[in-house]
Amino acid sequence: MTEMRLIAPSSPALLQSPDHELCPGCGHPVAWRQVLEVVEELGIADRTIIVVGHGCYTQMMIRSDLDSLQCLHGRGPAVATGVKRMLPDAIVITLSGDGDMVSEGLAEVLHAAGRAERITSLLFNNGVFGDTGGHMTASTVVGQRTKTSLSGRDPEQHGYPIDVSRLLANVEGTAYVGRGAVNTAGLVARTKRMVKRALQLQMEGAGFTFVEVLTMCPTGWFVPTAAGPEYLEEAMMATYGIGELKAPEA
């Protein structure tokens, strides 16, 4: 019989409770865990403020042991601007899904980047409004089935997805843009390094920093739970390539 050995705590220290109300197979908690671990590792938990938009991930904010401000749908980067300008030494992180940021709040994130706000915005992109039950967002990929594109996103009728990371990489005010994913262990680790780099750059006052994380939403994708990671690779990665789109010289 193989000896069992605990190599990491089952729950990050910065969670008040490991419970959540998210669906089986959801990628959000995996992605959020990386953020909590990085905040802990950088020793910035006592000066971090999370500004969170509206989506399934709101559930995670309730249980996280970080000062947090629940804001209006899509407005996180604007709200975070007010927070950061009044508390320049705080580490200010916004959390949005693709519905929150790419659909509702595209202006807010682009303008915050343009102003080079010293905040870090996180986009958990699963290409669907998970919270409403699986509807099309501005980042839904071509061919993807949602409740409002039942035959798959058709460019003739629905147009094309917006790649926010590529947009932001072209904005002068951004210091860092990285896109990771949480469908394999290797990419989870790589995503964590991106989050760490972004937060370190914020600590240095470098400019606007941004990490997009592709996450699984088997419920909203209408695929079996276990098929989520594979679907993410097949459906989303063809549109959204993984890697650092903009980073200062190391």
Binding site: I62, D65, L69, V79, V83, K84, M86
Partner: protein
């Protein structure tokens, strides 16, 4: 104290900064623009931040974020831009963040917007409508104080006359009394202690420090607005003791109305006037007392009849109420039109008095 000649917008900006405002964000739009200009010029020197935002929606949300840190924060626009801000005003009301909103309005058609909520949920905004620049300065101090005292968004209803008129002012900061400390403000310091803070309109709290949840929290907020309704109404009345007719008006329009009231008094008409300083809470009890002896109540405002609703709600005898105002906008769309005129008010009052007499 030296008396200085200042444009109203500059005087309001100075008062806001003297009141401790350290964050301001706005999107240029006449006649609000000058307030934004003065704040952008003066706030940095006072250790504050002014952001020329890219939309009104961003401006108000930035101010909301600043307010969440405990800073005194403000934004503004005219009614059209404030329409865009309503969702965030509701947010500030329901997550109880103090926020000051300057509506340098293009006329008097935003009374409902200022006094009826306008966003989602059960809330109101304390709204002061100054009649002139000195009063606007006084109200600016008061609004920052009331926003903190009640943890609520508050509104100043100004207009182009207040924004653009140059008057001599004597700056002095009033002592408005103590305020509770902002224990709810976020600074990030509670992270990792097991008692991190959360600000949310639903007041869900966190597992170790549960909040009330939406039902109980929103009942609490509604009860707070009931208390404000009972305690914060302010008004002014003139010559009502023996008045057979009382005319109600508000904001800068009231200065014209009072001029006419004095003229008609000189002609022997037993007329008085009533002016709410707070549009919300509407000073209903004071209004009812002011018109108790009058056989006719006239309402003059430059819209299709908005304060008229509050007058009808509080008038002891609704059949005595006559609306003699009207929509009146000049051709630029930026300011009140031809009906902001003493001769017009006088004619309308006299016509109303002839009717049925």
């Amino acid at each position: 104290m030296t008396r200085v000649l200042q444009q109203g917008s500059e005087a309001v900006a100075d008062a806001a900064i003297a009141a401790g405002c350290r964050f301001f964000a706005g999107y240029p739009m006449l006649p609000f623009t000058e307030l934004l200009e003065h704040m952008s010029r003066k706030l940095p020197g006072a250790g504050g931040v002014c952001i020329n935002a890219d939309t009104e929606i961003e401006a108000v949300n930035m101010a909301l974020g600043a307010a969440a840190t405990g800073a005194r924060a403000a934004t503004g626009s005219c009614g059209q831009g404030i329409a865009l801000m309503q969702e965030a005003v509701a947010e500030a009301a329901l997550n109880e963040l103090p926020l000051v909103i300057f509506n340098m309005a293009r006329g008097q058609q935003d009374y409902f917007q200022a006094t009826r909520g306008g966003g989602w949920g059960d809330y109101r905004t304390i709204t002061y409508a100054p009649k002139d620049v000195p009063e606007a300065i006084e109200h600016t101090y008061l609004l920052f104080h009331l926003a903190d005292l009640h943890r609520t968004p508050v509104v100043m209803y100004g207009d182009y006359i207040i924004a653009h008129t140059h008057v001599g002012v004597e700056p002095s900061v009033p002592d408005l009394g103590p305020l509770p400390t902002k224990e709810w403000a976020l600074d990030g310091s509670m992270g990792g202690t097991g008692r991190a803070r959360q600000i949310w309109t639903w007041d869900r709290g966190k597992p170790n420090t549960p909040g009330l949840g939406p039902d109980a929290h929103w009942k609490d907020v509604a009860a707070k607005y009931d208390r404000i309704d009972q305690t914060e109404a302010r008004s002014e009345q003139r010559l009502v003791e023996d008045a057979e007719v009382v005319i109600a008006s508000w904001g800068t329009t009231a200065t014209v109305v009072d001029y006419v009231v004095d003229e008609l008094r000189a002609d022997g008409v037993r007329i008085g006037s009533f002016r709410p300083l707070t549009l919300w809470p509407f000073p209903g009890a004071a209004f009812a007392r002011a018109v108790a002896g009058a056989s006719r109540v006239l309402v003059y405002e430059l819209n299709a009849g908005q304060m008229l609703d509050d007058v009808r709600i509080h008038a002891p005898d609704r059949s005595a109420v006559r609306f003699i105002g009207s929509v009146s906008q000049d051709q630029t769309g930026m300011r009140q039109g031809d009906l902001l005129d003493a001769a017009v008010v006088r004619d309308r009052v006299l016509s109303a008095l002839k009717e049925g007499s």
